[in-house]
Point group: none
DNA sequence: TGATAACCGAGACGGTACGTCCTGTCTTGAG
DNA sequence: CTCAAGACAGGACGTACCGTCTCGGTTATCA
């Protein structure tokens, strides 16, 4: 509630500058990597004074976070528009739920395949990997990354697993927040740390292993 | 193998400086964090010329990597010595295998509980998290981190799971390298990204879920 | 004469703002020095928008110049009022002439002693020194300073010396504009450049040296 | 004596950088003026890191002061060399005394004419005016300017006037330090403040007025 | 008696320079 | 040759002001 700094007046903010800064930040991170991207460089590329960046963002990570969220929002909107063109009215912003066809394994495989696509799309990969790395190194950034990028997606899995529990497809006693990690975390770790390549086959296998366990039946 | 630079003469290297640099690097990373740790700072704290660092290491991450490996080796040696005092001669450096009591679930839970202890020990946590973050941001560092810190540990799980397959405790058709991720990666992600707290209960649960699957039997 | 910019309408100018800007400028210059006085600082102290300053003045030096002239006018008015209270009506603004008692040496010593007083009065010293310095550095400012602050005073000496020439107290062939510099410039230089302290004794000595020369008679 | 900062090691100082900085500072001040000359600009023009300037000098004025002193020394050396070529051995650095031909007026006029030449030489005029202005605005700089540039020259006049007093050409009771100001300060003020042009005629007149006084004989 | 045009406070904006910090290279003198 | 020490060219940091601009909000004539 309380203002800590001279509090800039958001209503007079330059929309043009904001968009130019987002674009410059994403371009530079993609071209040169996060470490070689500088506030000065973003300002220069965006044709903006440095102070305009420092006025509205607290750090390089903060700029990139918002730029990435903006990119994700716009992309989601486009995807939704295309889907709406095909399937009828659905003006909802944000993806609110995982598919539920009744076949849990198939639904999870579908979603994870889409995640693989996204993780391998260079427009998303470079900035989101940079944000993840910065979030690991800096706890404050980490909280933001988890709260705004990671946890919302994970909650969709929680909901889908709860539905599966109600349908009798998942043991009723287990914790969905832990269960989802069995197939999500392995993918995340392979992608983040390059421990091994990721593919549709791999995520399909993860779902099978997780649903039916490692021990023989 | 091949030397690219004027090749420093390793036989004349100052052992004292090397140890002082390791100590300074670990102290500074723990005190101030990786980002605020600088080569100049390490040199000053170690009472060493900057060139001595640049002569033997290629980057801040490289210094910290070796310092951390050295710390881990020394700690492992001490642990081994204590174990040897109790159980007889065992001069082997490095832990070569996971325990195999015949009870796979119990063995995995034991090892994961030890991992939790290590991940929460501040002497290890700060530098290894820094290395992980740097490894995500910088692919070259990432390869080193995976090859020297991560993969060796994972291979121990592969071996234990193969033994379990031979014993009939794990389905014979599944890939151990993927299987191990069901309980290792969730722990890794929670620790790396602070998505949720880690505990003995949590790792025990992971083992149960992974071995017996999410679907009802 | 001709206006180059959108020509502000002087009749609608805010008198309150003008006075607040003068006060703020003089205060800040006195407190912090000319270099650390900024347009933003003056605006903030005066509770005025920056544009109000840029609308009416062309530079920091310009603001200070007017503020100083205003201060000098007001002070002269007060002095004149006091004198008028004692000696009868004299509503004239500005001091029009040096005293002429018939004793040139005494008159000059009196005026120079008053000048010493003014040069050592902190309310005048700081801003006028700042203006002098800026006038030396910047030729445009210099012209203003000389025309508005310096030359008017010097002309009073010219007039008094001309009277002395007519009275036979000064050689008739010499140039009064040069002659006055013999006692005025030394005082100016000592004050401006702190080459040596200034005092009544010093200015008295200057008058004696200048009137009667260095060579023996 | 006591070191206040990490004290750079002067013996390892780069002579090349020092000379490049002097040259760049003088060039920029002459081309663009003191106010538009920046430390960054000097560093860039000299092909030098900014830190190299901040390591050895405390301010822009300090750089320019040393650069100007260096220029003056070198010029004096060249002049002395030329004089020595004509008149025999005279390896003395610095001009130690004013000429003394026995004719005080002639000697003073000669020296003041040389001063006029120097004050109008653009290589000297721009930087020395800048230093004078900065010295008026900033007391610390002012002390340096007076001690290193101004007072040494004035002391030469003191010596010449003392000799004249011994020779009976100047009244024995007067203070040479004040006396010299009668012809030096007017020239200084005209030059500094552009109150009027300076010329040989003008300085000749000053000497005459000062020696023989304003009052009729 | 509104309209309309200015000045006004406020402050965001594109820029420039500041003085500091650190990088990775190079140089010096001691061992 | 290594080493401690640290000067060097370079470049990014985050801050402070510059001078311009735009935004509502008062005035203060004119229609």
């Amino acid at each position: 509630m309380a203002a800590t700094k001279p509090t800039p007046d958001a209503s007079r903010r330059s929309e043009k500058s904001r968009r130019a800064i987002y674009a410059a930040a994403l371009e530079l991170v993609t071209e040169a990597g996060y470490a070689r991207t500088t506030i000065e460089g973003i300002a220069a590329r965006a044709g903006v004074g440095k102070q305009t960046i420092y006025r509205w963002w607290s750090s390089k990570a903060d700029v990139l976070m918002e730029a990435y969220l903006d990119l994700a929002d716009q992309t989601a909107e486009q995807t939704a528009d295309q889907a709406a063109d095909q399937a009828g009215a659905d003006p909802a912003p944000g993806n609110y739920a995982l598919p539920d066809t009744g076949d849990l394994a198939a639904d999870l495989k579908l979603v994870l395949r889409a995640t693989v696509d996204e993780l391998l799309d260079p427009r998303f990969e470079v900035p989101s990997r940079a944000l993840a790395a910065e979030g690991i190194a800096d706890a404050a950034v980490g909280r933001e990354v988890v709260a705004k990028l990671l946890e919302p997606s994970l909650q969709l899995y929680v909901q889908r697993l709860r539905a599966a529990q109600r349908a009798g497809d998942v043991r009723p006693d287990l914790d969905p927040r832990i269960a989802l990690e069995l197939f999500v975390s392995p993918l995340a770790q392979r992608w983040l740390q390059h421990t091994a390549p990721i593919s549709y086959d791999y995520t399909d296998t993860l779902v099978d292993y997780a649903l039916y366990g490692l021990a023989p039946r």
